[in-house]
């Protein structure tokens, strides 16, 4: 651990100001300003390619891992600048966990080690503590019953939907403040989806969650606020109940009612 570097404060309030981001010469996000209260579930909706994943990745500095990526503007986590050069992105990413669109368990690791992967780098856990943590995280991710008898099997031996829930368990195990979920249910069956949605709602209040979803009903069910992104612009950001019953912007209306031109 590098003692020079600061850890972000706990809480989970996010404020972005005029985020402009893209790849090479191509601007993908054209100035996104959003304020997200701690403990809230925010849904991010918008057509494919509008920049949802890019936006999420800007929040925990994963965007900059792409060599051609650029970003301007500011992201604050509990008032602290995320792009402060003195801030360790590794710590930031522990505070701001992410579940990706495609499941990405560590291929060489067992199910159990995958859950603990984020922790073992810094924490020394007793085996019994680790066992408890693994069980809790897998339970939260609605996977425990399916894998409890084969925790030593490789993570890759699971089905796609199970791998996704394993990744959710992994991100929960480090107890982040913010959880970014990029279409976490796209590979899940309706039962696992219901359990993940239940999880999201039970985490709300303690965790700030931003979920990207193409399922409008899912956004309506789990989030308290919804943001509609179109071609790299934030068209509307409002109470979820308002967005899905009477959005203000005609473009939002057209998108959520299925009028794509």
């Amino acid at each position: 651990m590098n003692v020079e570097q600061k850890e972000p404060a706990r809480g989970g309030a996010i404020e972005t100001r005029e985020i402009v981001a893209g790849f090479d010469t191509r601007e993908v996000l054209h100035g996104i300003s959003m304020q997200i209260q701690p403990g809230q579930v925010t849904a991010l909706i918008g057509p494919s390619g509008c920049g949802k994943s890019t936006f999420l990745r800007c929040l925990n500095r994963m965007h900059e891992l792409v060599p051609s990526a650029f970003i301007r503007g500011s992201v604050q986590l509990d008032g602290q600048e995320v792009y402060d050069p003195e801030l360790d992105p590794v710590f930031l990413r522990r505070r701001v966990g992410m579940v990706f669109q495609k499941p990405n368990p560590f291929p060489s690791m067992s199910i159990r080690d995958n859950v603990l992967a984020g922790l073992t780098l810094t924490n020394r856990l007793k085996a019994s503590e680790a066992d408890l943590l693994v069980e809790r995280a897998l339970n939260q991710a609605a996977l425990w019953d399916e894998v409890k008898d084969r925790l030593k099997s490789p993570g890759m031996s699971l089905s796609g939907g199970q791998q996704q829930r394993l990744c959710i368990a992994r991100s929960l195990a480090v107890d982040p403040d913010v959880l970014l979920m990029d279409e976490p249910c796209s590979a899940l069956d309706p039962i696992a989806t219901a359990r993940v949605e239940d999880l999201i709602q039970s985490l709300a209040g303690d965790y700030t969650i931003i979920i990207v979803t193409h399922n409008m009903q899912q956004a309506a069910r789990v989030s308290s606020r919804t943001a509609f992104l179109l071609s790299g612009e934030l068209v509307e950001f409002a109470e979820t109940n308002t967005i899905f019953t009477s959005p203000r912007d005609q473009r939002t209306e057209d998108y959520i009612t299925g009028k794509f031109g």
Binding site: A220, S246, E253, K259, F260
Partner: protein, 226 residues
């Protein structure tokens, strides 16, 4: 429909158009029934009154049928925003339209009762009330189906005149019954007719308010009137 843009899934457009078509039809029948019942009352036409009573089954059948269609579309499409508002409001509107049909039946029943007595006299204010309420029902329906907010507001404005006429009819009847105890029985029937027609006006107001909700996206009920 207000939005010129159509759904990417064209079948969805057709389904919504079908709902719109059916509720329009239901509204037309109920409106015609009400018009006929007022005419039957004015002319004490018992044959017409009896016909109206038979038509009510059609309205009832349409109510169920439209509710069912809306439920199926909601289950299948999980509509959002203006589509969701439209379908939910249709399910509310059918209740009001069905009541309008019931009122036409009630007015017809009173007409039958009245035909057995000898209470004549001109009920000019009552016919006037009937005409206004009828225009409210027809325009309320049209405002809802065509998402015409301006027309809906017009409908809401007509209510004050209905109220004024109702108070007048009521007062006249009380005076008449005070002077002629022999017609109290019939006077009460006329009074109920006035009350029913006034209530049909309330249902028309609801339709107009649904029209505004459909367009504006928020419920304006109980804002201006109480």
């Amino acid at each position: 429909m207000p939005d010129l843009k159509s759904h990417t899934d064209k079948i969805f457009d057709k389904e919504l158009a079908e709902v719109s078509h059916r509720i329009e039809r239901m509204g037309t029948i109920a409106g015609d029934m009400l018009a006929a019942s007022v005419r039957a009352f004015n002319t004490r036409n018992t044959t017409l009154a009896r016909e109206i009573m038979d038509e009510d089954t059609q309205v009832n059948r349409l109510e169920k049928n439209i509710d069912q269609l809306c439920l199926e579309i909601i289950a299948k499409r999980q509509p959002m925003a203006s589509d969701l508002r439209f379908l939910v409001l249709v399910m509310k509107a059918v209740v009001d339209i069905e009541r309008i049909g019931d009122i036409a039946v009630n007015v017809s029943e009173r007409t039958m009762d009245l035909s057995r007595g000898a209470l004549t006299g001109s009920w000019e204010e009552l016919s006037e009330m009937g005409a206004i309420v009828l225009s409210m029902v027809r325009d309320g329906m049209r405002a809802f189906v065509e998402s015409d907010e301006v027309l809906a507001c017009e409908v809401l404005k007509r209510d004050a005149e209905v109220d004024r006429l109702f108070v007048k009819v009521f007062a006249d009847l009380i005076e008449l019954m005070g002077n002629r105890p022999d017609v109290i029985n019939l006077g009460i029937h006329v009074q109920s007719v006035a009350k029913w027609i006034e209530r049909a006006g309330d249902h028309a107001m609801n339709l107009a308010e649904y029209a505004i909700f459909r367009v504006k996206g928020h419920d304006g009920r109980h804002a201006g009137r109480s």
